[in-house]
């Protein structure tokens, strides 16, 4: 589904990603772990096309298409979704208006008919059930005044409505208490299918108890330094990132 080759990226002239290689097939869940500041969010932003990040080398092919030159909205139309680590507030714009606009743009780009307000509301309510979100959020302004946990849940709601092919969840677990974590993970699991894929970016192993990855990659200093199965996450949890760093030093 997505093929990342030798990806280098910088922000404000500072090199952050230093040669990422990653290949993800439909149906798979990949976890990307790593210490703070290692470049996890940068990778997520680069894949979805944030203009502040400059790709200096490498390629990203999504479903056979080179996406690095595509505008972010075109990538969204193609099926890339990012659940933001820090969801953005849009005062005065209701959650449902925002999401309906996004969904209809995506549908239009695929030659599907746009949903009218009634059809959309029905869909939205169904999806709200999946993440157990109160209907009062329908008309509240996007993320404004939401608690940290509510913002994260709102991201997953958006994902549920937009049904992306590739979902990138950036630290979706941070700010969630254990009950919310279970609900959100259950939601993500429910949306999983053989035709879509998920990248779970996280700092802690905790989330991976609920969203079980097929592969775990460790990102340190802009490079994937280790990949493995779900046991790797346990190992990291037990020994911290330092053991990887040591391993790297020894092998160097």
């Amino acid at each position: 589904m997505i093929e990342i080759k030798n990806l280098h990226a910088s922000v404000n002239g500072k090199q952050i990603l230093k040669g990422i290689n990653l290949s993800i097939k439909a149906g798979e869940v990949h976890a990307i772990m790593g210490p703070n500041g290692s470049g996890k969010s940068t990778l997520a932003q680069v894949l979805s096309g944030h203009p502040a990040y400059e790709v200096t080398e490498g390629t990203v092919t999504f479903e056979g298409q080179d996406i690095l030159d595509m505008e972010p909205e075109k990538r969204a139309h193609a099926g890339v979704f990012l659940a933001f680590q820090y969801p953005v507030e849009i005062p005065g714009v209701s959650n449902s208006y925002f999401l309906k606009a996004g969904l209809n743009e995506i549908r239009k780009s695929r030659g599907q008919e746009e949903l009218d307000s009634m059809q959309f509301l029905k869909l939205l309510k169904e999806k709200m059930k999946v993440v157990e979100m109160d209907h009062s959020f329908i008309n509240r302004p996007v993320n404004e005044g939401f608690s940290g946990g509510e913002k994260k849940r709102n991201e997953i709601l958006q994902m549920a409505v937009l049904e992306p092919k590739l979902a990138i969840l950036d630290e979706t677990d941070s700010g969630l208490d254990i009950d919310a974590l279970k609900i959100v993970s259950a939601g993500v699991n429910k949306l999983k299918s053989p035709t879509n894929a998920t990248i779970v970016v996280t700092h802690y192993q905790r989330l991976l108890n609920y969203i079980v990855p097929d592969f775990v990659h460790v990102l340190v200093n802009g490079r994937i330094v280790k990949s493995g199965g779900k046991e790797l996450a346990m190992e990291l949890e037990a020994n911290g990132y330092d053991f990887i760093k040591e391993e790297m030093l020894q092998s160097a």
Binding site: G49, I90, A101
Partner: protein, 478 residues
């Protein structure tokens, strides 16, 4: 992306066409004789000619205000023509007699003056250059005792009302531009809602400046007697011209006991080109007097046009328990300058005022909010709430806020909130990540920002205003 910005910014002002119509325009220049000529052309009674002359004499002694945060070339008041009217049959008995070219002009502006085609619920007075050319629904309104006509007609048909209220809210010596307007005003709308009547439809005036080198000086007077209610809308456009044109209007509102007046404006005068060439200089005095107890006046304005805007719709809260409101969205783009805000003068007891101002600056635009809240000694238990938010798009524009507050008693309170935000790359990216393109994202974010103001506009106007906002800002974000 820069390419699309350029394309979008250079999008033409859609109302910039001129109408080729024969007009009766007096030579440029201003003197007592010119004031007399205007008055004579309008066949005015002696007292009004005198009133104009008094205003002119005061104006000559006054100086153009220099305190606004505006930059514009000095206006040469002797190079402007103070009267222009489209030539048409002297007295119109029905709309059928209006010159079809004029009807067509308004049709192109999206205003149909043919009554049966008119959206139900809106009566229109159309002012072309200096003169009111048509007023629709006159008869329907008359049945309720409502007077809605051109100012000139009111002078002849209801002189006692005009005499009683003209200048009662904005005296001719009030300020430089009000004095100028009082001397040379040409026409405008007059509206009177008698005791206990709720005006059943929106009343609307559409102003159009067409002739070149002409100033437009209209005068609007709205009176709501005890327990009366009216919602009034004002729209305006002008052709694109390389030279600046002067617009100096005066609007006076009077609300008696328990009366309510809602006055909404969507101001879309030509703003000049992207380098700041041409455009309207808009110097307007708008003031309402809540004369009666529990009366209410609400100003709502969406300001997107004009090269220069100088405008402070105000409310004098004289009656006890009266309410004044001001909701404003002011947008500046390219080289536009706006200095706008409101004044709330609390005089009566338990008076309340609310000010919501949303300033949006893009391009090299410069947006200033200037507001005064004064609560007098006898205005006990009065309250004001002010919220001034500014949004900046890009980094070549600016926003300023000058709130002045004077409270002269201890039982009153004022609350002021202000914020400045920058439309962020992150907000736009967030929208784009959800599939929404830059243009729609900007329009969505801006409309969200201005929502509290839009919800105070009548429905059709709100839709128009939202579109307008999108158009005036298109391409200002990269």
């Amino acid at each position: 992306m820069a390419e699309t910005i350029e394309e979008l910014v250079s999008q033409e002002y859609k109302y910039g066409f001129t109408t080729d119509i024969e007009s009766d325009t007096i030579p440029v220049g201003l003197s007592e004789d010119v004031v007399r000529i205007i008055s004579a052309k309008k066949n005015e009674p002696e007292w009004l000619t005198e009133w104009r002359l008094k205003a002119f004499r005061v104006w000559k002694t006054m100086e153009e205000p220099r305190w606004p945060n505006l930059k514009y070339a000095k206006i040469d008041y002797q190079s402007i023509s103070y009267y222009s009217s489209p030539k048409q049959a002297k007295k119109l008995n029905s709309l059928d007699e209006v010159d079809p070219i004029l009807l067509d002009t308004y049709a192109r502006l999206g205003i149909s003056l043919t009554e049966q085609k008119r959206l139900t619920g809106v009566a229109v007075d159309a002012v072309f250059d200096s003169v009111s050319v048509a007023t629709t629904f006159k008869e329907t309104l008359k049945e309720k005792g409502i007077i809605f006509c051109s100012f000139s007609d009111a002078v002849h048909e209801h002189p006692e009302l005009v005499k009683k209220y003209l200048g009662s809210v904005v005296p001719y010596a009030d300020n430089y531009f009000a004095a100028l307007n009082s001397a040379v005003f040409s026409d405008g709308s007059f509206c009177f809602i008698p005791k206990g009547v709720r005006c059943p439809m929106e009343l609307s005036t559409y102003f159009r400046i067409n002739a070149s080198n002409t100033g437009q000086f209209e005068r609007t007077l709205i009176i709501a007697e005890d327990n009366a209610y009216v919602s009034y809308l004002e729209g305006c456009t002008a052709p694109m011209r390389d030279e600046n044109q002067l617009h100096a209007a005066v609007v006076e509102l009077v609300a008696l006991d328990y009366a309510e007046i809602k006055y909404s404006t969507v101001q879309n005068w030509y703003a000049g080109d992207k380098d700041g060439k041409g455009g309207i200089y808009n110097f307007v005095t708008k003031r309402g007097k809540c004369q009666g107890v529990k009366s209410k006046i609400a100003w709502t304005q969406v300001e997107t046009g004009s090269a220069i805007t100088w405008k402070y719709p105000s409310v004098i809260l004289q009656g006890d328990d009266s309410i004044g409101e001001f909701y404003s969205v002011a947008v500046v783009n390219n080289r536009q300058d706006a200095d706008t805000g409101t004044k709330m003068h609390h005089i009566g007891k338990n008076t309340r005022s609310t000010i919501i101002s949303k300033g949006i600056s893009a391009g090299r635009g410069n947006n200033t909010y200037r507001g005064l809240v004064s609560i007098g000694k006898n205005a006990t238990n009065s309250r004001n709430y002010t919220q001034c938010d500014s949004m900046l798009i890009g980094n070549k524009c600016s926003a300023n806020t000058f709130p002045y507050i004077e409270v002269k008693n201890s039982t009153s309170s004022v609350e002021h909130e202000a914020s400045t935000s920058k439309i962020g790359e992150d907000q736009i990216f967030y929208c784009k990540q959800r599939g929404i393109n830059t243009e729609n994202a900007v329009s969505m974010i801006i409309n969200g920002f201005a929502k509290e103001v839009f919800k105070n506009l009548p429905m059709e106007f709100a839709v128009e205003a939202q579109k307008l906002l999108g158009i005036s800002l298109e391409g200002s974000v990269g």
